[in-house]
């Protein structure tokens, strides 16, 4: 039995009077693939953004790889150097070339040499299939290519955990597959991943557990098979009907 790499205990978060996260408990083991789904506004993005402290929470605790999250900026940066994130809107740095996008954090946060960072970056670009675009700027690439660059950028720092915040939602339909394939490849290599996504095919194929959230709470949590075939709560049933009949 592997150890927990992420432990979330009794986390509560409010935006003003709005209860965004309600008593969240979640444990993630090393190498596990978790898919989080739920209607918009259910708090799923907020939850994974709490893990690398892009969002603050008011109650509870999150422990990542033995480090407890707090306001201490050193600890936050330590966690962020082990946890990478891929965003819905890619958030590549538009003024930097692709290769500079990838090597920035390794050089300045992880003190890698330029040479070393560049080699690793090219290797990763090769892996996501866009090595030949290394010297272009992000706006010269398609959405799918940009998201693959973003994944390569996230991998560049050799993270232990990858967080995906709706990585395919902003993509044109024909580009979704290329991004999902990269993610599936990662999952098979044993990366710990938490993905907020509505790609149920992806969930069925690689997820170890699927989590359904609504109104800031975790409503249901199960193996994909049981999750999709025998949903226990009515709300999940309703959600699955809507999303699968699309």
């Amino acid at each position: 039995m592997k150890d927990n790499i992420i432990t979330i205990k009794g986390v509560n978060k409010w935006y003003g009077g709005f209860h965004a996260l309600n008593e969240i408990n979640l444990e993630v083991k090393e190498g596990e693939i978790i898919v989080v789904c739920g209607p918009s506004g259910s708090g799923k993005s907020t939850l994974i953004r709490c893990i690398n402290f892009l969002e603050k929470f008011q109650e509870g605790s999150i422990i990542v790889d033995g480090i407890e999250l707090s306001d201490d900026i050193k600890k936050i940066r330590q966690i962020r150097s082990e946890v990478s994130m891929v965003f819905q809107h890619f958030n590549l740095f538009p003024h930097l070339s692709i290769i500079d996008n990838l090597t920035l954090a390794p050089i300045w946060v992880h003190n890698k040499s330029k040479q070393e960072a560049r080699e690793k970056a090219l290797q990763l670009l090769d892996r996501v299939g866009i090595r030949d675009q290394a010297d272009k700027h992000p706006n010269q690439l398609s959405g799918g290519q940009q998201q693959r660059v973003a994944i390569a950028r996230a991998l560049c720092t050799s993270p232990k955990i990858m967080l995906f915040d709706e990585p395919t939602s902003a993509l044109d339909p024909e580009m979704i597959a290329e991004v999902l394939n990269v993610m599936i490849g990662l999952a098979k290599e044993g990366m710990t991943m938490i993905c907020v996504t509505h790609e149920m095919g992806f969930a069925k194929r690689v997820a170890d557990r699927v989590i359904f959230m609504d109104e800031g709470q975790i409503i249901e949590e199960n193996q994909p098979n049981a999750f999709f075939n025998k949903p226990e709560s009515e709300r999940l049933q309703l959600f699955l009907d809507q999303i699968l009949s699309k």
Partner: protein, 365 residues
């Protein structure tokens, strides 16, 4: 079998093409438009012919003295006569080579940076030029006993040279300080944020003329007698303090226009605040702010004429000073028109340069 005769395309109606079409579309498209156009034409008729007549057609170009200029129009030899005054003020004529050399050095620097465009060490060269340049400029213009360059006190400086010095120092010094203030205003540390806000709002609430007065009249009162630092230096400090607040606000606008995702991506990658700002946010914010930054610098350039109230002779003040020459009485208009033209050309170049910069950085968004 039928035969089709291909119809030749007809040319567009004459009211839609060429000069006539343009006029119809832009000047006479409606009744109001027509009225406004005619009114503007009338105004131009009132202004332009007499102006051209005064400036060119009736003007005296070759007459060498004021008395020879008998026609009721411009006497341009006056400008010729006073050219060195307009350019250098009272700077001693045997030292004119110094400002001239500085211009040559400046142009060489600019050219050198241009030529090094694709070199790897371009940034280092540019940076070192930026560090060395102010010292070169200072020792050349002011002089130094140590280097054996004759000292020219700043009360002798004047004219276009002084205008450019004041504007350039104001621009170069206010830019970095403005960046820090803009960052300070967004800082999470309350003391720094409040200090920045207080400074910006205070300065923006005071006219430049007041700041210049403060710097030149009030400031010496705070020092013990005998300590008196240079009048020009005081004006320069005043102008820099003033400009800093405006640049800070312009850059703050740019900082706020950078999408939140950029801040988040930088944070998520584990960059520190300084790294985030320096590598990710500022380059984008500055790019967005270019038009406003240049606009603010153009305003500063025009504001430099205010230094005349603290007894420093910029180009406009020189136009005034030159009228005291008994040989050239009544030629003030020529001087002012000349100054206006020079300043317009310089400012126009600045705004063209801003356009070029925008295009060069326009790689994204």
């Amino acid at each position: 079998m039928s035969i089709f005769n291909l119809k030749q395309p007809r040319s567009a109606p004459s009211t839609h093409t060429g000069v006539l079409g343009w006029l119809m579309n832009h000047l006479f498209s409606s009744k109001t438009n027509t009225a406004l156009s005619l009114f503007s034409l009338y105004l131009l008729y009132l202004i332009v012919p007499p102006l051209l007549d005064w400036m060119i057609f009736s003007a005296d170009f070759s007459e060498k003295t004021n008395t020879e200029c008998t026609r009721n129009a411009a006497c341009w030899f006056y400008i010729n006569e006073k050219m060195s005054l307009f350019m250098y003020g009272l700077y001693p004529s045997e030292e004119y080579w110094r400002p001239n050399l500085l211009i040559a050095i400046t142009l060489t620097f600019v050219l050198a940076v241009r030529l090094l465009k694709h070199q790897i060490y371009r940034h280092k060269v540019t940076l070192s030029l930026f560090v060395i340049y102010p010292f070169v400029a200072f020792f050349l213009l002011y002089g130094s006993d140590f280097l054996g360059i004759k000292i020219v006190e700043t009360n002798y400086w004047g004219g276009l040279m002084l205008t450019v010095v004041v504007a350039a120092v104001g621009i170069v010094a206010s830019f970095p300080i403005g960046i820090f203030l803009a960052l300070g205003r967004q800082s999470k540390m309350k003391t720094i944020r409040w200090l920045s806000i207080a400074y910006i709002e205070l300065i923006r609430g005071i006219p430049l003329i007041t700041i210049l007065f403060m710097a030149s009249v009030m400031l010496p009162l705070f020092f013990t007698e005998g300590i008196d630092f240079d009048k020009l230096l005081r004006a320069l400090i005043g102008i820099t303090l003033f400009q800093t607040a405006y640049i800070a606000e312009v850059i703050r606008g740019g900082l706020q226009a950078v999408p939140r995702g950029q801040y988040e991506a930088a944070d998520a990658a584990g960059l520190s605040f300084t790294q985030k700002m320096f590598f990710i946010i500022l380059p984008q914010a500055l790019k967005i702010s270019i038009p406003n930054i240049v606009g603010s610098f153009i305003a500063l350039f025009k504001d430099t004429t205010l230094v005349l109230i603290v007894g420093i002779f910029d180009m406009l003040a020189i136009a005034e000073l030159a009228t005291t020459d008994a040989d050239w009485l009544g030629r003030k208009t020529e001087g002012i028109v000349f100054v206006a033209m020079v300043i317009w050309v310089l400012l126009y170049l600045m705004s063209r340069y801003s356009k070029t910069l925008e295009k060069r950085f326009n790689t994204e968004h």
